[in-house]
Symmetry: C3
Amino acid sequence: MTYNYSLGEIAAYLNAELRGDPEIRIQGLNTLQNAEGGHLAFLSNPKYSKYLSDTRASAVILSEKSAMDYSGDCLITADPYLAYALISEWFSHTGSRYSFVHPSATLDVSAKIAVNVYLGPNVVIEEDVVIGSGCRIESNTVVGARSKIGENAHISSNVTIYHDVTIGHSARLHSGSVIGADGFGFAPRSAGGWQKIHQLGGVTIGDNVEIGACTTIDRGALGDTLVGNGVILDNHVQIAHNAVVGDNTAMAAYSGLAGSATVGRNCILAGDVAIVGHVSVCDNVIFTARTLVTKSVTEPGSYSSGATPLMKTVDWRKNTVRIGQLDKLARRVKKLEE
Amino acid sequence: MTYNYSLGEIAAYLNAELRGDPEIRIQGLNTLQNAEGGHLAFLSNPKYSKYLSDTRASAVILSEKSAMDYSGDCLITADPYLAYALISEWFSHTGSRYSFVHPSATLDVSAKIAVNVYLGPNVVIEEDVVIGSGCRIESNTVVGARSKIGENAHISSNVTIYHDVTIGHSARLHSGSVIGADGFGFAPRSAGGWQKIHQLGGVTIGDNVEIGACTTIDRGALGDTLVGNGVILDNHVQIAHNAVVGDNTAMAAYSGLAGSATVGRNCILAGDVAIVGHVSVCDNVIFTARTLVTKSVTEPGSYSSGATPLMKTVDWRKNTVRIGQLDKLARRVKKLEE
Amino acid sequence: MTYNYSLGEIAAYLNAELRGDPEIRIQGLNTLQNAEGGHLAFLSNPKYSKYLSDTRASAVILSEKSAMDYSGDCLITADPYLAYALISEWFSHTGSRYSFVHPSATLDVSAKIAVNVYLGPNVVIEEDVVIGSGCRIESNTVVGARSKIGENAHISSNVTIYHDVTIGHSARLHSGSVIGADGFGFAPRSAGGWQKIHQLGGVTIGDNVEIGACTTIDRGALGDTLVGNGVILDNHVQIAHNAVVGDNTAMAAYSGLAGSATVGRNCILAGDVAIVGHVSVCDNVIFTARTLVTKSVTEPGSYSSGATPLMKTVDWRKNTVRIGQLDKLARRVKKLEE
């Protein structure tokens, strides 16, 4: 896709300082390294500043500091990365949007669907569903009975929303995501085996939430699983029954909350972080990649557990086998000290 | 959803001792903390006993021991958690079930479908499929050629069952699950690259199995991948080709068996447990969260590997870097001792 | 399924030496342990050589070395495992293939679809899609606008391919896989919360690629995410935006690349290997199961990090708690030495 804006228009949109020619035409966004003539690039991570002098971009978004090293056309703003994000949104809206219900969609007569909604081929909308204005629901997605989707949601193809799920406005759900499947609840039977605990709760999701591909949010056993406003979930995330995710918390790929785990606001779970059941994490906590959170965290900060450093396999074997002897080793050191 | 039963009816259903008024109306299940008038609550985990005295529930399910501290209306039973599970099943059946084939479903003429079956919109049933009595297969689910599904299965939307898969009675499959995709089998080519090993086996699954959202069970290379009776699988589980899962084994989210791994009966794999290929695990084994099982286990018990304890990131870095020096450290201690 | 070939035909197909009767009829492939009369078995892993003398197979594929211990009918070849892989491909082609567009498929008029293509029920093909000759796209799969799929692809049911994705020839995609969902890109807002970075790139995938069930490959932020020729991806794999996977690299289940990570050619990522963002790995590297790759790797070889050895949980607790004291322990040893 190509676009066609003047640098001046973009400066006005960003409320950024323009240094150079406002009539320059911008036809695309790109990185400093890959930009061609007609492209707007940006410099945010200092690691990439070495590419600034040689970029072929027609203009660059820079901070005040990095602009001192650059004599070409540029936009100057406090946070070039945020500026790039804002332009990416603008450019992504260039594609056509239209309201339309494909004739192959199956709609229960009791569903309440706003007028300017797109429902793609083979979409299924069950009884008493409510779909807000401006929603776009793509091919082969299913919305179960009594679920409510707020305004301006964009739900990709092959998504499954079970019954009794509530989603706020401006949601973005990606393909393969599953909202409202049964929580994993079973009581052991005295004779062996498992008695299923039917999951009678639902899921309540706030506004402005992003849900990645193949991410799952289970319904509550009793009461709802809760996902706050502005939460962003990557692919392959798992939110178990009755877990709570606070506003603006971010979870990268493969991160999961076990049943009734609670995570506060503005937390960051790097990839593959697992929080065990019934544990509670306060606001403003960061967990590094692959951390296993086995107890509650009550103070903001960065926490870790998990992997050993990366080594050659032959060294790793030699060293990790010693972990199995570590308690004895510590006792031997104690004895030596005595 | 609300219900309407008398406490006496519920006592009879559970075969529990009733202490108090059998005419009390119960309109819902809830936890001690969140219950309102008209709700039935339960106390199982002693951690929640502090909520017993103040609950607004109209009645509570208690053990004989916890009933001693409670003067309100209650049902007394040996296992309150199991009792709750049984009522949850009863309550979940209140919703209507009906048999119906949606006109948009695609059925091969050779398929054998029992009369009282529900097939939702856009369901696809390929040649020679057999669907047992009482099955409910929801929107956009696909069942491949020659697969057999036993009685009373409930298969949610957007499930994929490949060809030549056999599933016993009373199965529960959640959305996004995939049964019978190719196992990951490739032979290295001498010139580099991979020669695919076509997966000529199938999948055989027992009775009363639960399969979570986005869970995958691959078909066998030669012969079938086997999942026993009463097995319960959470979301994002992976069962590779020719693996064997014994009866009543439970696998929590992200747990996986590599090719030809065998797990016995009544095992519990907490979240994110991985069992490497060709390893065998006996009956009655528990693996704690995130354990990597690299060798066979022949004695029942609880086993672990994996993560370090949770620490502040700054401490974790300082300590884990020492793991790379651990073999040397152990040798230095040895020398000191000498 | 059963087949019917003579041992002589199979020897010719494999270009293998035949020892015994070329007229023997072969109706199936099987392992040494499970083979019956009419089956062809193979011996590759020496661990299974104990089953050779007692096999009921009508013939066995052997290396020259293992053939010395066997007096029955056999095919002799340098690599019996590769030979088995080649026969599995032959046998898998016995099933019927036919070109057909199911009447319930939705095709945009602008799509260019080769004549001998199979499109199953409820397949959705959006505008300007190109589908090459010999492709088979199964039920309920969606191909987004402007995506191109090369010749002879086999795409199973319930796959989602977003817009602007290019896939080479002979691809094999399994159910639940999602190609081209948005990368996980957000800029922090100064007032708190996240500004979405719209993902304006696409995905480019080479020839002869295998993509497992519930595997996700995200589109690039700017420019494409790249997957080379001959890459094989198991189930539940994650390739984040702008990651690069080199030719013939294999990734087992749950392995993931974070944003802009680059992996070279002929690498093997055993199960659950995670590579963090912006890291680069050279050709011919092996990572053992559950390794977390936190820095670039510039020399071929085998690398590890991750789990402690498998122990009884009681021992594991005792030992891993010492990891939190490891830095102090090392200092104490230093002091003792002084």
